[in-house]
Subunit: 332 residues, 3 copies
Amino acid sequence: MKRFTDLAEFTREQVLELVALARRLETQPDPHALAGKVLGLLFMNPSLRTLASFQAGMARLGGDSLVITPGQSTWQFETRDGAVMTGAAAEHIREGLPVLSSYCDALGIRAFAAGEDLEDDLADRRFNAMAALVDRPLINLESAINHPCQALADWKTLDELPGSGRRKFVLSWVSHPKALPLAVPAATVHMAAMRGMDVVVLRPEGYALPKAIMDKARSAAVASGGSVAETADRAEALAGAHVVYAKEWGSTRNYGDEAADQAQRRSLKHWCLRNDWLTDAADDCRVMHCLPVRRNSAIADEVLDGPRSLVLRQAYNRMPAQMAVLYRLLKS
Amino acid sequence: MKRFTDLAEFTREQVLELVALARRLETQPDPHALAGKVLGLLFMNPSLRTLASFQAGMARLGGDSLVITPGQSTWQFETRDGAVMTGAAAEHIREGLPVLSSYCDALGIRAFAAGEDLEDDLADRRFNAMAALVDRPLINLESAINHPCQALADWKTLDELPGSGRRKFVLSWVSHPKALPLAVPAATVHMAAMRGMDVVVLRPEGYALPKAIMDKARSAAVASGGSVAETADRAEALAGAHVVYAKEWGSTRNYGDEAADQAQRRSLKHWCLRNDWLTDAADDCRVMHCLPVRRNSAIADEVLDGPRSLVLRQAYNRMPAQMAVLYRLLKS
Amino acid sequence: MKRFTDLAEFTREQVLELVALARRLETQPDPHALAGKVLGLLFMNPSLRTLASFQAGMARLGGDSLVITPGQSTWQFETRDGAVMTGAAAEHIREGLPVLSSYCDALGIRAFAAGEDLEDDLADRRFNAMAALVDRPLINLESAINHPCQALADWKTLDELPGSGRRKFVLSWVSHPKALPLAVPAATVHMAAMRGMDVVVLRPEGYALPKAIMDKARSAAVASGGSVAETADRAEALAGAHVVYAKEWGSTRNYGDEAADQAQRRSLKHWCLRNDWLTDAADDCRVMHCLPVRRNSAIADEVLDGPRSLVLRQAYNRMPAQMAVLYRLLKS
């Protein structure tokens, strides 16, 4: 394994093996596996779970990690090719990335969507430009359009649920005070389809996931025997749901136009997941969210603090899932 | 030992054992004691000693630590129950704290007083709300009303002084450009009383320590055979003093009213500890302060740079004292 | 070895031994050499290479490191003696430095030039005031007038080049949007002279290196058999050059006067190193820079991305060079 940047680069069997390895590392720690190895973590954007779980996971495998946050303890980074650098950014990624990776055995990069041009973000141009400069094992810590570490942790979380047979997985848009990226919805719909679930994307008008995202999920569903649908009809979507994965994302109709998006969102504040959404869901229906979550904007307290919530388990599973990734990338 | 959040939760014998363990770890290092263990350090407020000494101490015991600073490398935290989260804070402590502790073997939390409502701060509501969300060994890195790590380090520092018999310990208010919390004065007066010293709180009018703090110290003194008194009369307080512990804190008469407090402090600028304060103190009288200290506002250069000062030794003792705490919390 | 703050404190033979040790640690790792040791890294200014390479290097030797950034996760530091501290700075270096070093086995300090008074900066007053407060092995992570870690890494990089005999080393001023310190030019000209090269400092009028810097380099050249010259004539300087080391620095004629400096620099924008500068250089002429570099302001893309560039190798060499320093300072 050379890099972990997209679940789609792995077969279903390889993902199952990673999840199995994550489970094994939970019960049979291997505290010297990565002794002497150094993981670099580059955060272009804030983090809690990723920051803490990678540091803790690396330490539990006997390795070390270092954190770089441009603009905070280090120089701001320039990313544009050919830029005449007379502004605030003192360092170009063409130097910063190769230099940082030359000190490390593996590198993780977080680079959120710029949120201006949908094609750029769908093509993951910013992350890919940085990834191309790294000649070490590479981990995507969330890019414009992907979050494979979250997807792997969610897969493990779903595996821990009782019940078998075909399961209905609803990815539901929920309300948020500002436009958020498409990375988690894109990674989630693909993961659930790849896992063979019957996936329904529930979202208001104007928030349909772009065709590229839906197509990728659909082709994963074809291979796994699952299915992918979408609707704006909440009752239809939630009826019989086994899992509701709530997530905020920005308008795809008005992508990059925060004012138009905000106007649109004003009438969508009732898209806050409450218990009464789940009346016709399966009895054991569970609620997921990648966190951080805006309480009482995206999901009500009654759901987050109730028995349906899996959000803390998902977050915990980031650590063993990533330990499995680190193990595969770095164990000699 | 499950948590270290208040010296008052321990018996005098247990504290003496911790101090003895701290001394042992100084001379007989145990560099693999905590191998594979991860300490999470959550700083809601700045730090130098706590930040550095916990990281260094954990490393010297073979363990690892990770630092989270909300609003800096991670999301701002919401702390209010039931909040509709449409503002700046992206993550609620109800998620942030359980998630962070799920990655760690122990968690330390620093959460200073809000400084608005005296009852809230005396009840340590903010820290306790966070602590209630943590199901791991927990360390108080300074809360609104307590600083047990400082108290333990100071106890060890006092043990290192020559002389025996009853010792007079004066906690003296000193001047500061802004209102500071009650955590250190509260922890200090309790620690010295629990150690069996004759404690005098010297402070100007308007700065009396709240009854709850004085009562807690008095009941510790009853158990240890010490005593607790208070006065605004500097000559009386300092006569025969063996230790003067200087500390700044905000007006308790005008708690939370910075303008009134500032007006009051304007006439108190002479409360800067100088050598001539100690004319009638014991010959071997020593000066303590928890640091950081405002030189020539709280304590004059001549005292800090003179032979009476223990401030660097106190700061150094943070590390072995905390190593003893980590050892008791985490050594299997 | 007690400290590593200036290459001039070592003999040529000692430097050669350090470089040899750096090479050995590259091929024969010694992953437990510094087990249980703690390196404190104090950054008064931003960093990428120093921050990451010291953490990675310390980890590769089995040790730990901790990072302190005043004003960010910790208090702002006061540096002036006798200050009445009623302003923003909560902690004086007279406490902060001894406290920090009491937790650590070695301390690294970065403290850039204030850039106001040339004599102060040439005397390295700020760094020396901090260094005087540290009673542990000390490393200069770049001070007002020195950057020995960069110099040692550059020495190793030069050793890796083919060819022998006398080599012409040109330190060339290049354009930058703001005045930068003299630390790297001073360290570089001294290092190349000490290495026995024929050094030419190429700079426009107003940017001559101060006499103290040139004199120090000249006396190193006398001992090593090298030479040191300076000129504003680019063609003369670059003819036959084996190495061109590009570096930005502020006007020495208008030191500390950013407005005057900026006016001066406006006519110097063509001092951006391009391939056509090197027409009369040696065929195998290589280009160096300490990074971060402003692309297309200091050096053109065509040079940085071309075969002459050594900048990534220089940056990489920071890690093994510093591992050798850590090894000599800390290995018992």
